[in-house]
């Protein structure tokens, strides 16, 4: 059980305590304000070096992390290891050693292989590793920003701040996660965060897009998607991971849209205040109808915006309490 990420790596949300999650959410809240200033910068990580290594292509997550690091005044080393230029078969240990030799305090890394961030953390125990997505395994900052966004929206409706609200709104909150759970690192992070926070989490997907032994997860698999939509307070859609071969797990994209897409017709079943979420990038017209994505209750761009304060909080906490010179 991880009870705080202060001075720690952030590799997974499975096994993270409610207190640890709350700490990140509350810390992120304090950084929201920074992002509204004219001069969007605080000196919290001045002199610290954060390397951002994306072995797998990404635009929004990389930009979000690098913006977060810069707003904390950290120096950012952005290593261009696009998957095309990384020779498959290069030892993860060698790549890590090269980066470490440049003198870094933290590494934000994305990799196409599950577990890569954990492996790297073993090679450089003196460097804080922030997992920005590893294979099908975890995308912890996405899970955190999703929880943050839910809290923010529900707090605003009550007219209170997120910090004041604490975690109360999550108790029994009905969250429905829809789509390609099997190939989704976002689902693997969201589910553990929501379950730990006390939500009632259900999932809806074609049988082929559910992970092995999902009955051991803290979720319920719904048998009737349409009824579940009426039940939900929050609907989290997932991208159909076509690049991971999930195309062959359903007969066609059209059939997926017909059965598990949030079409305009189906969106009518949602309650008036149901929150619609999507981690992006969206396949408009596949898992979500274009018009539905632009509805008022769809908080997709707000998720993107919240990425910055949440990642600021993660970097700040992970590097907090770490002495000058690296080792904690």
């Amino acid at each position: 059980m991880i009870t705080s990420i202060r001075g720690q790596n952030l590799l997974t949300l499975e096994g993270m305590s409610e207190g640890a999650l709350l700490e990140v959410l509350d810390t992120a809240e304090s950084f929201v304000e920074v992002n509204r200033r004219t001069i969007k910068k605080v000196p919290a990580l001045k002199g610290r070096v954060v390397a951002s290594i994306f072995f797998e292509e990404s635009t929004r997550t990389r930009l979000s992390f690098e913006t977060a690091a810069k707003r904390l005044s950290a120096d950012v080393l952005s290593l261009a290891v696009a998957s095309s230029s990384v020779k498959k078969g290069e030892s993860l240990r060698d790549t890590t050693a090269t980066i470490d030799a440049l003198g870094i305090d933290a590494v934000v890394m994305r990799h196409q292989s599950s577990g890569a961030a954990l492996q790297v953390s073993r090679y450089v125990p003196h460097v804080r590793v922030i997992n920005a997505g590893d294979g099908l395994h975890q995308h912890p900052t996405q899970g955190l920003l999703d929880a943050f966004t839910i809290r923010q929206v529900l707090s605003e409706r009550k007219g209170s701040s997120g910090v004041e609200s604490g975690l109360e709104m999550f108790k029994g909150l009905r969250v429905l996660i829809v789509g390609d759970i099997r190939h989704s690192r976002v689902a693997r992070s969201d589910i553990w965060a929501y379950a730990t926070l006390g939500c009632d989490v259900r999932v809806a997907a074609p049988g082929t897009l559910l992970p092995a032994n999902i009955e051991t997860w803290p979720v319920t698999v719904v048998s009737n998607f349409d009824e579940a939509l009426e039940w939900a307070d929050v609907v989290g859609l997932l991208r159909l991971q076509r690049e991971r071969g999930s195309g062959s797990f359903v007969p066609s994209l059209e059939e997926f849209t017909q059965t598990f897409g949030l079409t305009l017709a189906r969106a009518k079943r949602l309650g008036p205040s149901t929150i619609i979420m999507h981690p992006g990038p969206m396949n408009r017209g596949v898992e979500i109808d274009s018009k539905v994505a632009d509805q008022v209750n769809a908080v997709i761009t707000r998720q993107v915006a919240n990425g910055v304060p949440v990642r600021m909080a993660v970097l700040y906490l992970a590097l907090a309490g770490v002495r000058e010179g690296g080792a904690s």
Partner: protein, 436 residues
């Protein structure tokens, strides 16, 4: 020195054991009795408190030569084997290039002959282990090859497997199958189940193995050719083979120590040291395999010794090659699996007599180049002997391995029982658990 008196050990025969002395002279056991007086010029080896049995035989050693000498050579593999109590190893054919012709088989046999152990060869079933066309099994059989396998991968095409069995039967050789349907295994890197689902690793389902076991049992029923099932890892697989055996089919099977000592939760740290095919299974299967070993439901324990260069085990889990070292700790891990009151007869049946029978390395088999292994410890037998101390307690350490590679998953594990002495081809190779 060519004469040894092994003194006071528990001599383990094929059905019973008793305390006594064994006298070895010029590579042959010359006398076995309750008490033998030490002849002059003869070295005395104190075996009191120990088991004295036939040298261990490994049906499944990847010695990596030719092609991947950075991971292992026949010479380094033989050293690791000797430390593990083995006097004979069957070298697997998934080298680069594969052992699919007489030239390559001869090369390995010649290299093997320079080591202190007997190195037999398993030839490939298909050319290049590609699963497309039959390798020249008759020519390789003429060199003494008695086992054929494409191990590393099973022969996927049922028609080709049927043809291979039909072709092999009159040659008096045995095919051995790595059972995993690769289409069902879907390029996965660990057991399919709760752990793989949570880790986001693609799973290799138990069914991928069991389906091929089922298929091949039926092919044996059809062709009448003997078949050996390599490294079975699930309860169902072992049940299927035992059911076929009860039907009178000529099937045998082996299990590997990692499949009865480590389960799928070992993969939770994404450490590629725990990646192996077939994968580490559920705790239920691990317990079932250990129970099958204890009850003598398998013919052999085989190591599936699979050295890999360290840089390959520093790859991400899904990209790293499958396989782990096995030769040095197999005897201790098997001993531990036999429980609190381990039966020495079963121990040597699993690690020596069973595998020697399958590899046709026993005295009654028509031998080509090889010594007799898995014998009864009687006068006249070739002196391939091991002394195993059931009371020893020691700790596995990757710093002390004799293989070139270090990809053992057992670093730091407490072990029970230890090989004290290995006498191979009449020579003292290991004494006091160190190479002579």
């Amino acid at each position: 020195m060519s004469a040894f008196l092994v003194r006071g050990g528990r001599i383990v025969g094929p059905t019973s054991s008793s305390i006594g002395d064994v006298l070895v002279h010029d590579g042959v056991i010359v006398e076995v009795s309750e008490s033998i007086s030490l002849p002059s010029g003869c070295m005395e080896i104190d075996a009191r408190g120990c088991w004295v049995g036939p040298g261990l035989v490994d049906l499944h050693a990847h010695l990596r030569e030719p092609g991947r000498e950075a991971a292992e050579t026949i010479e380094s593999g033989a050293r690791a084997g000797a430390i593990g109590g083995f006097t004979a190893l069957v070298a697997m054919p998934n080298t680069e290039p594969a052992l699919d012709n007489v030239a390559l088989v001869s090369y390995v046999l010649e290299r093997g002959a320079r080591t202190p152990l007997d190195v037999a060869v398993a030839g490939a079933i298909t050319v290049g282990r590609k699963g497309e066309s039959l390798a020249p099994m008759a020519e390789m059989a003429a060199l003494g090859v008695r086992l054929f396998t494409d191990d590393g991968i099973g022969v996927q095409d049922p028609s080709l497997m049927r043809r291979a069995l039909t072709y092999a039967r009159p040659l008096g050789v045995r095919l051995a199958q790595h059972c995993e349907d690769e289409l069902l295994a879907a390029g996965g890197s660990m057991n399919e189940g709760e752990v793989s689902g949570r880790l986001g690793l693609i799973g290799r389902p138990a069914l991928a193995e069991e389906l091929m076991v089922m298929r091949d049992i039926e092919l044996v029923r059809l062709t009448g050719a003997p078949l050996h099932f390599l490294h079975l890892s699930t309860l169902r697989s072992v049940q299927l083979v035992n059911s076929a055996r009860r039907d009178g089919l000529p099937v045998t099977c082996e299990v590997a120590p990692h499949h009865f000592t480590l389960d799928e939760t070992s993969c939770q740290g994404f450490d590629p040291l725990f990646k192996v095919h077939p994968p580490l299974r559920s705790a239920i299967d691990v317990d079932a395999i250990r129970e099958a070993v204890r009850r003598g439901l398998v013919d052999a324990v085989a190591t599936d010794h699979a050295p890999h260069a360290p840089e390959l085990k520093d790859l991400p889990f899904d990209e790293a090659p499958a396989g782990m070292l096995g030769l040095e700790y197999s005897a201790s891990l098997t001993f531990e699996a036999l429980g609190d009151d381990p039966d020495p007869v079963l121990f040597f049946s699993l690690l020596s007599r069973g595998p020697a029978r399958i590899a046709q390395l026993r005295r009654e088999d028509d031998r080509v180049r090889h010594d007799a292994h898995g014998g009864d410890i009687v006068a006249g037998d070739d002196a391939n002997l091991v002394i195993f101390d059931p009371g020893a307690r020691w700790t596995a350490s990757n710093a002390n391995l004799h293989s070139r590679a270090t990809n053992s998953p057992y670093d730091g594990r407490d072990l029970k029982g230890q090989v004290r002495t290995t006498i191979a081809k009449g020579k003292l190779v290991v004494n006091e658990a160190v190479l002579v």
